[in-house]
């Protein structure tokens, strides 16, 4: 009787593991997983609300040097292309938001900042580097993924955004 239970659990484990393996990846061409997170503005923001726009999702943390370097550049990008149907979501991955809020006071940005304190969206988007940038097209499909940031990467982002805006 006990052994049967073990057998059943093993089967369930096998199925769930294979299901997880299959449920993969956020890769160019796949649909961008939906999510909703609390925002600095107060009103929660969901990916679904933004369909029809080109969306750049940037995963960042206040303790990450390249992330901090990237912020003013993302701000510039947002201001320039927002009127044309582009939006930028800054998803902060820190479990405690105090440091992030402090950073934003000294380096304010106008694009929405979301707080992923439980790392649900980071896991969903398989964030494998800091910072990570995912660019989603108007139909909600992931088109470009970037890991890390170094000075000059923004020209690549701009090219890709312009391509998607023309679609």
């Amino acid at each position: 009787m006990q052994l049967n239970k073990v057998k059943i659990s093993a089967l369930i484990l096998a199925l769930s593991l294979s299901a997880m393996a299959a449920a993969s990846s956020v890769s160019p061409g796949s649909a961008a997983p939906a999510f909703q997170l609390p925002a600095a503005s107060g009103t929660p923001v969901g990916l679904g609300d933004l369909k029809g726009q080109v969306i750049l999702i940037n995963f960042w943390a206040s303790w990450c040097g390249p992330c901090r370097q990237e912020m003013p550049i993302l701000e510039q990008m947002y201001r320039k292309y927002k009127p044309a149907g582009f939006t930028l979501l800054g998803v902060n991955v820190e479990p405690k938001s105090a440091d992030a809020v402090g950073f934003l006071k000294s380096t304010p940005v106008s694009f929405p900042i979301l707080f992923d304190t439980e790392s649900k969206v980071s896991t969903l988007y398989e964030v494998s580097g800091m910072p990570s940038t995912v660019i989603v097209d108007r139909k909600g499909k992931v088109r470009y993924i970037h890991h890390g940031y170094k000075a000059g990467d923004e020209s690549e982002y701009l090219d890709q955004i312009r391509t998607l805006m023309r679609e």
């Binding site: 052994l3 093993a10 593991l17 294979s18 303790w63 992330c67 820190e94 790392s119 896991t123 940031y149």
Partner: protein, 79 residues
């Protein structure tokens, strides 16, 4: 006897479960967004190389032993 057989079958099932996941390479068990503490400068093995190399030199010229004092670190996982 019967227990032995059952145990074998259970092991086979578990093995199948593992194989079904595709034998994926080792996934990082500390995600990049979990590296806040490791990114802190106080967690660096060698925060000020100019001072640590000097101290290593002070010890090494007075002692018989030397070497293997290298410092390597975890860092923030950025980029």
């Amino acid at each position: 006897m019967a227990n032995h057989q059952a145990l074998k079958r259970t092991c086979a099932l578990l093995l199948a479960a593992v194989l079904l996941t595709g034998c994926s390479p080792i996934q990082p068990w500390v995600k990049p967004y979990e590296r806040e503490h490791l990114a802190d400068p106080i967690m660096s093995f060698d925060r000020n190389p100019i001072a640590s190399v000097y101290l290593d030199h002070v010890y090494e010229v007075r002692e018989g032993a030397h070497g293997a004092t290298g410092s390597v670190g975890g860092g923030c996982g950025c980029n």
